[in-house]
């Protein structure tokens, strides 16, 4: 019977080509609009470190102004001071821990006429690489000892290694950065987590750094912080760099790896104890307000997904609703036109259930066609978004459609078509056998 209904569906679609095309197009356009926005949202709200989501925690301690809390929702500052970064890191109470900030270095390639250029860099600690499952092409990160000794070691991104060393294994080679010689300890494989979950305070949708070097070295060498610095209390006048490091200004991101719930609890207790201790020294004037957040919680907390995307998604869903109302109307019109056929089939012995199947299968066919075309529309939609954001190069990473999105598009199209078919089919199934056959 299924094949028979497929055949009837084909016939009916062929008998009303314009109408069927209009229905398929309406579903495809609706799906295309929804899925274009949803794909972007899907990528923006993704969690590239899902597998370790229950082990990684971003650290927040509230050292802020007693009269004026940090921002919503809970008033906890989103970065930490150097004082706290250093103390918490040195305590070493987590399985792994890393403190980092965004900076930049001037790369001086070999050769006299090669012009130096600036590259984005991340000052971080040895644990950064194993914590975030960072893939290496050659070599490895530096070892924990280099965090103490301020060694001049550097990890390069794959692209920078290609640019500087033609893609060779450059481990052990020397690289000049701001007139200082660094030893290459490792080269990353392609690594571009979207969103850049480990530093969402600065744009979470930008390319990762191309240079990674020790945090302690960057502090000792007074490397500029290219990310956000916020202060609630002025840095002591004339105290220079020392004063800044001792200030209540926040500018460092800290993450810890805790392997299970009890480790998490222990670390929380440790944080609270640390803050209580600092209170005795006159710091941390606010009530206890410390937090450990997983990457997914952290991204939600920071509202990584732009509000505009949600506005667009809402409107796109309404758009789909209009397309479906349109389809329902057309299906209904078609059902009415076919009322005589239906009533005849009823007279010839088709039960309601059989008619229902026939129409559902026909709607399913429209849905499949709409879904397939919808995937194509989505692709065009994403290319459209990409071209609108031509000046924002990173956009290309947000407009990628994976198989889950293709599947979702088709499933959504079929469900939509079936949903749209419900009312017309119900009307059809309620046509009494005799109603359209009565003569004169």
């Amino acid at each position: 019977m299924f094949r028979y209904y497929l055949k009837l569906g084909t016939l009916s679609i062929r008998a009303n080509p314009m109408l069927s095309a209009l229905m398929v197009a309406a579903i495809a356009v609706g799906i295309g609009a929804c899925m274009t926005i949803f794909t972007v949202r899907h990528v923006m709200s993704g969690n590239p470190i899902e597998s370790k989501n229950d082990q990684l925690y971003h650290v927040q301690v509230d050292n802020w102004n007693p009269d004026d809390p940090y921002e919503e929702p809970d008033g906890a500052p989103v970065q930490v001071t150097y004082l706290d970064a250093k103390a918490l890191f040195d305590a070493g109470r987590a399985f792994r821990q890393t403190t980092s900030f965004k900076t930049s270095r001037v790369v001086q390639p070999d050769g006299d006429d090669a012009r130096p250029y600036q590259e984005d860099a991340r000052a971080t600690t040895a644990d950064f690489f194993p914590m975030f499952d960072v893939p290496f092409l050659y070599g490895a990160g530096w070892d924990r000892a280099s965090d103490e000794t301020q060694d001049h070691v550097v990890v390069l991104s794959r692209e920078l290694n290609e640019k500087l060393f033609g893609g060779e294994d450059s481990v052990g080679r020397t690289l000049m950065l701001n007139d200082e010689a660094y030893r290459v300890s490792g080269v990353l494989d392609t690594w571009n987590p979207v969103p850049k979950y480990y530093d969402v305070n600065n744009n979470p949708f930008e390319a990762p750094a191309r240079l990674f070097l020790p945090f302690s070295l960057a502090i000792a060498g007074s490397f500029d912080n290219n990310g956000n610095t916020s202060c609630w209390k002025p840095v002591e006048e004339g105290s220079g760099r020392e004063g800044f490091l001792a200030s209540e200004c926040i500018w460092i991101q800290m993450w810890v790896e805790l392997q299970n719930a009890s480790a998490r609890q222990d670390y929380m207790n440790f944080l609270n104890a640390y803050v209580e201790e600092q209170k005795l020294l006159g710091r941390f004037p606010r009530p206890l307000n410390n937090h450990l957040r997983t990457p997914s919680e952290w991204m939600k907390y920071n509202e990584v997904v732009d509000e505009d995307v949600d506005v667009l998604l809402g409107l796109a869903i309404l758009f789909l609703v209009v397309c479906l109302l349109n389809t329902i109307g057309l299906l209904l019109a078609k059902a009415m036109r076919r009322a005589k056929d239906t009533s005849l089939r009823r007279a010839l012995g088709a039960s309601r259930a059989e008619l229902f199947k026939q129409h559902v299968i026909e709607a399913g066919m429209i849905g499949v066609a709409g879904g397939a075309l919808g995937v194509v529309m989505t692709w065009f939609g994403l290319r459209g978004i990409e071209s609108i954001f031509i000046e924002y190069e990173f956009m290309q990473h947000l407009v990628r459609m994976d198989w889950s999105m293709v599947t979702l598009a088709v499933v959504l199209a079929i469900v939509s078509a079936l949903g749209a078919a419900l009312y017309p089919t119900w009307r059809t199934c309620n046509i009494t056998p005799a109603s359209y056959l009565r003569l004169q």
């Binding site: 209009l22 309406a26 012009r115 600036q118 004339g238 505009d308 209009v322």
Partner: protein, 403 residues
Amino acid sequence: MEFGPIWRAMMRNKGGYLLIALQIAVTMAVMVNAFAIMQERSIKMSRPSGIDDANTFSLVSVGFKPDMDAKTLVQEDLDLLRGLPGVVNAVETNSFPLRQGGWSEGLHREPGVGKSVSSSAIYFVDEHGLDTFALNLVDGQNFTPDQVSWDSDSPDFWPATVIVTQALAEDLFPDHEGSYVGKTFWFNDENPANIVGVVERMQAPWPTWTGVERSMLVPLRRESEFARYVIRTEPGYRDELMVQVEELLSGSNKDRIIRGLGSAEEARKLSYLGDAAMIKILSFIVVLLTAITGLGIVGLASFSVARRTRQIGIRRALGATKPAIIRYFMLENFLVSSVGVVAGGVLAIGLNIVMVQAFALTPLAWYVIPVAMIVLWVVGQAAVAGPARRASAISPAIATRSI
């Protein structure tokens, strides 16, 4: 004329008409709210930055050799730049309006570090800042050269004089009337700042910041291997000077690199990229949506004409004129559209209330609703015109033929 019979005939097939009305209603809700957002964004994008966007560009010099003489280098660079033909003026500063990165500071009316009463973007400049940014000084005067200091020369970081925007002055001293020149506020418990001038407008670097109109010029020069130059040119000279200046500075000193070359116009464009995209995407959605709704009306009207062929033939046989047939379908559509746009008005306002609450949107202007109503009425009438014309062409002879 014949509203009654048409309405009664429609009520006999409510389902189909209700669907069109609903479709028109949702279309209108989306249309109206999309328009409200587009309007909000285009107002945001058209705000003047206060500087001469068209003739200004910027670049950064980054020294990378240890112990370089930043003070001398910056002074040499500025002398060079200011002497170039086509350059109006140049200044070394930390940022410029809409660059999306800069320095902001909480401000106090009394000395202290408690809750700040206002906040402002900070632009560090020398006495050339006012002219380079082409600001409109509405009160007081520019910095004198002796008011400008190097941070390395004085123990106090913050200088004692500032020039503020009108918006900042009003925010700092809401109850004050008359001139703001001479008023004092505090950066913290030690550093008072005395207002020496007020400019009409100069935006902060961050376009999404609620305090985007609040900024100030601070006569301080910071000794650093990192220096940003902002350069204003004579009209028409910008593009060639951008190329020329980059070459000149790159060549003049091998111990630094030149990067971040870009015009204020480009920065502005980047700043509003998301808003411009929003406008484009929304207008695309609205156009597509209207087209889909229009096509849906065409499809359904064609259907109803096909279904009523015999009935129309009989009407014609009984003496209905062609215009009467066309009028019948037009009126039918008008009735459906009217139900749709009225429901759509309610829906649009409902959706707007939700969006205002959820996304802090500005509420929509009242006139958008009647305009959208008229647009959808017209779209409906245009869509039904074709099928109606075809209906009027049906031959009356159909009536005499058997089924």
